[in-house]
């Protein structure tokens, strides 16, 4: 039996919801926050914070500048209007999400930093805007996003569709980049917290203590901005800023003492609630269908006084009952590794698993490989169940050295209950000596590949998005009942490139100079030496005899 206690401390609520729902002439903003706690089968605790700011305004209106901010952060609003951004998604992740052990996350993200932006279609210089935008964002989030340039930016044709309003399909206005090497730490969390209307002073955000958050197995923080419908009729646009933070706490190390408080805490009780006991019990139960799975959640609405009872604090206690049942295996899962030996060639293997017992479904695989791994696209093979599986759509954009990475997008049909392997060979390029990173022997990262799919659902999905849904289930709009959208990121790769000795240029200069000097010296010597005939000198015996003769005063020998 393992025990974990989630202690809640109440300080009186910020009452922002009350305040912000008041109608200001012209525009309305609204703030909502929630925390979902899901005990994982591995024994870890998955906590997912979501903060949503809705603002009924339009940044991209012609001629009218939005300049008066209330709940929406000013710094982001200015960026949106200056760079004509239609949609912006940015995530910083430390650690790797273990899909097979933990199931699907509510909002997936690759290790390191990921940024994808849809620009408005009035933008003429998309690349210029993108460059400036990454620089500005790197300042806002204290991250090295300024290292995003044309060599690691791609324009995926199908994998990243806008999640918000408007069906832009022209991928010229989309930019996607990842920085798999980015290390996420408190300096990224602080500016992220600053974007919340109350900072870390009130609401669920008081729980975000960096010493706890970064002492965890997985940490991911993200900002998603998109235009959404203001109401059911969708007559006007509203902007949604969704800040999410997902953490997986290791029970053994984190132990206890997570503080909770707020607006809603959803606790995943499993299907029947038999897995563990919960105290205090809550009268509010809510059912939600997320990622093709219907679950019951106990809801603690922290804006209500009765949630806290007499103590004015909320203690949640979960008591595990034994080992727990069989975990529902994720239907879609992907892995990636690099094979081969030596420093010349190699092979990238991407393995995609379809765990559905009887349904086949298509997936979109997107790979962005840096130019210094030169892909041999003719070696691309896709096999499932040891048979050739021909992709029905391939979009390949070859790399240009020092200008553009490879982009490979494929639509692959996954047979039921199968393993599909995608392999492609590559050759490692030789870099110029200034192009190596400061720690070249560590290796070079290749970003995660992205598998996006509509996975057939076991239960009917709710397509009625007008009803009041919890935040964690409403991020990706569900279009049909029978399937749900999933995005899976594989591991990033670490590839060794042939690395020279970096003192080499100086050694080469010195050695060449020495060789030239030696050659020059002998040549010079040969040219300027004067030759003259010399009389042969006496043999040694005669010279010795002469020495004795000189002492004796006898005439010398010649």
């Amino acid at each position: 039996f393992r025990l974990s206690s989630l202690i809640g401390h109440i300080s009186t609520c910020p009452s922002l919801i009350g305040q912000c729902c008041q109608r200001h002439p012209g525009s309305v903003d609204e703030f909502q926050e929630e925390l979902v706690i899901r005990p994982l089968h591995s024994g870890d605790i998955y906590a997912s914070f979501q903060f949503r700011t809705l603002w009924d305004t339009d940044f991209l209106q012609e001629g009218q500048k939005v300049s008066h901010y209330r709940l929406f952060p000013k710094s982001l609003g200015q960026v949106l209007s200056k760079f004509s951004v239609r949609e912006l998604h940015i995530s910083f992740t430390q650690g790797f999400w273990r899909t097979m052990q933990w199931g699907q996350p509510f909002i997936p993200s690759p290790p390191g930093a990921e940024l994808w932006v849809w620009f408005h279609d009035t933008v003429s210089d998309v690349d210029g805007n993108w460059k400036e935008l990454t620089n500005v964002l790197s300042g806002i989030f204290c991250a090295s996003l300024n290292f995003i340039d044309l060599t690691n930016t791609v324009q995926p044709s199908a994998s990243f569709k806008p999640l918000g309003l408007g069906n832009a399909t022209d991928h010229r206005f989309l930019r996607y980049a990842t920085l798999p090497r980015e290390i996420v730490c408190t300096e990224n969390l602080t500016p992220w917290k600053k974007l919340l209307p109350c900072g870390s002073k009130a609401g669920l955000a008081v729980l975000l203590k960096s010493e706890k958050l970064f002492h965890s197995s997985f940490h991911s923080q993200a900002v998603h901005i998109r235009p959404v419908c203001q109401d059911e009729q969708c007559t006007s646009k509203a902007w949604e800023l969704r800040q999410t933070l997902n953490v997986v706490f290791d029970l053994y190390t984190a132990g206890q003492g997570k503080k909770a408080f707020r607006s809603s805490i959803y606790l995943n009780c499993g299907k029947t609630g038999e897995l563990f006991e919960l105290s205090p019990a809550t009268p509010l139960l809510s059912q939600a269908v997320v990622l093709g799975d219907r679950r019951t959640y106990s809801v603690f609405d922290l804006t209500r006084a009765e949630t806290f009872g007499q103590l004015r604090s909320l203690n949640l206690l979960l008591r595990w009952k034994g080992d727990g049942g069989e975990m529902l295996r994720p239907l879609l899962h992907a892995e990636r590794y690099v094979a081969g030996f030596g420093l010349q060639t190699g092979e990238i293997h991407t393995v995609i698993y379809n765990n559905h017992p009887y349904r086949a479904f298509p997936v979109l695989l997107m790979d962005s490989v840096p130019w210094y791994l030169q892909l041999y696209i003719h070696t691309l093979t896709v096999t499932s169940k040891s048979r050739d599986n021909k992709p029905s759509y391939i979009h390949y954009q070859p790399a240009k050295d020092r200008h553009r990475p490879h982009l490979l997008e494929m639509l692959i049909q996954l047979p039921p209950h199968s393993m599909t392997e995608v392999t492609v060979q590559f050759e490692r390029a030789l870099l110029k000596w200034t192009e190596y990173t400061p720690d070249p022997n560590h290796g070079f990262y290749v970003g995660s590949s992205v598998v996006s799919a509509l996975v057939p659902s076991m239960v009917a999905m709710s397509t009625n998005f007008t009803q009041d849904q919890p935040l964690f289930s409403s991020f990706v709009p569900v279009k049909e009942e029978s399937s749900y959208f999933v995005r899976v990121y594989t591991e990033p790769l670490l590839v060794n490139l042939p690395t020279p000795d970096f003192s080499m240029p100086y050694n080469v200069i010195c050695l060449t100079c020495t060789v030239v000097a030696v050659g020059y010296g002998s040549f010079y010597n040969l040219l300027t030496r004067t030759f003259q005939v010399d009389e042969p000198s006496l043999p040694l015996a005669k010279r010795l005899a002469n020495l004795i003769r000189r002492i004796r005063g006898v005439p010398l020998l010649t």
Partner: protein
């Protein structure tokens, strides 16, 4: 023996030939290939900038049509501020000039004790001192000289303005404390400014604040900014910050049963707040912050006290070149039993009055101290009279010219001193365009075209800064000569030593031969 001599001679020629090849071909080749590219810069013109002199023309154009126009203006307008307008219509005075109308001593247009009336535009009415009827026009005018001079010095820029505009650049001795404070308060000249209004609500649980910032900006700030449009681009935005607190804990004062902030502690207020304000990520223009702080329910009312321990009537203070903070107490607007949070509408007229005054200070609209007998008309809704705008244009142009010329001269000096810096063509082009813009700015200023002068001076600043901060200047800066020679030594030393030695040998042999010859001839 002859063969030996011949052989030696051949060796000498070979050594000389090699030395000649090294000197004639090798050294220029090496020099040429390792040379840093340095484009031509107009050094002589830049050094002229160093001792730049602006022969500025003071706007003192004299109008001779005195009587008729005044008469007609008087007929239609008994009230003098209307007369100002119709006089303005009468002769459209151009930017940078001042028109002084002289009215007879007995005129009833101005009240009895008023000698000079300065209008909202570029006109002034001057009551003429008594004169004899026998004087001709010239004598009358010369009689007026002193008064006209006084009017012009009030409405136009004088020595103090120059000092203020240049105080950043030039150290001057004759600076009064007040003009120094003025110049330090005003934010540096820049092509654009971001004005940010922030409402600080440290206690959203008890106060739910509403401010109609959009309307207030439209009606109070925008007229001034429209007026200032020739000087810079302004952008205005606002935000509300929750749970933002001041950096100091106000002290409770029993005598007034209120919390007070003393003048000494004000300097500690800004820094902690500033972390929450956020900078404007989308532009690099300087930001002017205006904060409206509503103290939380437990710390109200809150008053600011000045150095002499008196309550500041506006309950606001400003920080030079940063912005202003106003404390707005709301505790009297609701009773103790009111339901929390209390909805409070902020009186924007009161707030904007304070912020507008602070904004004028920050923008460098200086106080004028008119001599007695002068009446200045209040600037009206725009918040700025035309002649004040002219003064501002003038001082901004002078400041820009000073900034740009110091930037360019110091860049030229730097490039002159460090021979290792690469000067690309684009930098040379920026420098020369900055120099030409500077020259035309000075010329326009001398001709009195203030708008053009400001525009040219702004161009000069932009070009000079772009040249100064160009990253390509730094490429070879950290590649010093001694390291370069350390790398060359394995080649240079073995090559040069035999050449030098054989040259020395040849020279010494030649000397010896000459000595021998001399000895022989002796």
């Amino acid at each position: 023996m002859a063969a030996l001599q011949l052989e030696k001679q051949r060796g000498r020629y070979a050594a000389l030939a090699i030395a000649a090849v090294v000197i004639v071909v090798g050294i220029p080749l090496w020099w040429k290939t390792t040379e840093t590219y340095r484009a031509w810069l107009p050094f002589s013109e830049i050094s002229e900038l160093d001792s730049l002199q602006v022969h500025a023309l003071r706007p003192s154009s004299r109008q001779n049509h005195v009587c008729d126009s005044i008469g007609s203006a008087m007929i239609y307008n008994r009230v003098f501020d209307k007369a100002d307008l119709s006089l303005h219509m009468l002769s459209e005075s151009s930017c940078g000039s001042v028109v002084v109308y002289v009215i007879p001593e007995s005129s009833t247009l101005l009240p009895e004790d008023v000698k000079v009336y300065v209008g909202q535009r570029r006109t002034a009415l001057l009551r003429s001192p008594p004169f004899k009827t026998s004087w001709n026009l010239k004598e009358v005018l010369s009689n007026l000289d002193v008064e006209v001079e006084q009017v012009v010095s009030t409405m136009s820029f004088g020595h103090q303005d120059i000092v203020a505009a240049l105080s950043n650049r030039v150290r001057m001795t004759k600076v009064t404390k007040e003009s120094m404070a003025d110049s330090m308060r005003a934010i540096k000249s820049s092509p654009g400014y971001e004005i940010t209004f922030s409402l600080l609500n440290p206690d959203p649980k008890s106060h739910s604040l509403h401010w109609d910032i959009e309307g207030a900006v439209q009606s109070y700030i925008q007229p001034l900014l429209n007026k200032l449009a020739p000087i810079a681009n302004f952008s205005v935005d606002s935000q509300i910050l929750y749970y933002a607190v001041l950096g100091v804990n106000p002290r409770f004062d029993n005598s007034v049963s209120a919390y007070t902030l003393s003048a000494d502690s004000l300097s500690h207020v800004i820094n902690p707040v500033e972390a929450r304000l956020g900078s404007n990520a989308a532009s690099s223009n300087p930001v002017l912050n205006f904060l409206l702080y509503v103290p939380d329910a437990h710390h109200s009312p809150l008053f600011i006290r000045d150095h002499s321990k008196r309550k500041v009537p506006s309950n606001a203070f400003h920080s030079p070149r940063w912005g202003g903070i106003m404390v707005y107490n709301v505790n009297e607007m609701y009773g103790p039993e009111a339901e929390r949070p209390v909805d409070i509408n902020i009186n924007m007229a009161k707030v904007m009055g304070v912020f507008l005054a602070q904004l004028r200070l920050m923008l460098g609209v200086q106080h004028t101290h008119p001599p007695t007998g002068f009446v200045l008309q209040s600037p009206g809704s725009a918040g700025l009279a035309d002649w004040e705008l002219d003064r501002l244009l003038w001082s901004r142009s002078v400041e820009n010219i000073a900034t740009a010329s110091t930037t360019i001269t110091s860049l030229a000096q730097l490039l002159d001193q460090i021979g290792n810096i690469v000067i690309n063509d684009n930098i040379a082009q920026q420098v020369s365009s900055a120099v030409t813009s500077l020259q035309s700015a000075v010329a326009e200023l001398e001709a009195g075209n203030l708008a053009f002068a400001l525009q040219y001076s702004r161009e000069a600043i932009l070009a000079s800064e772009r040249a100064f901060f160009d990253p390509s200047l730094l490429h070879l800066l950290y590649f010093p000569d001694d390291q370069k020679f350390a790398i060359y030594i394995p080649l240079f030393l073995p090559m040069c030593v035999p050449i030098v030695l054989s040259l020395l040998k040849i020279v010494s042999e030649a000397k010896k031969r000459r000595a021998d010859k001399q000895a022989k001839s002796d």
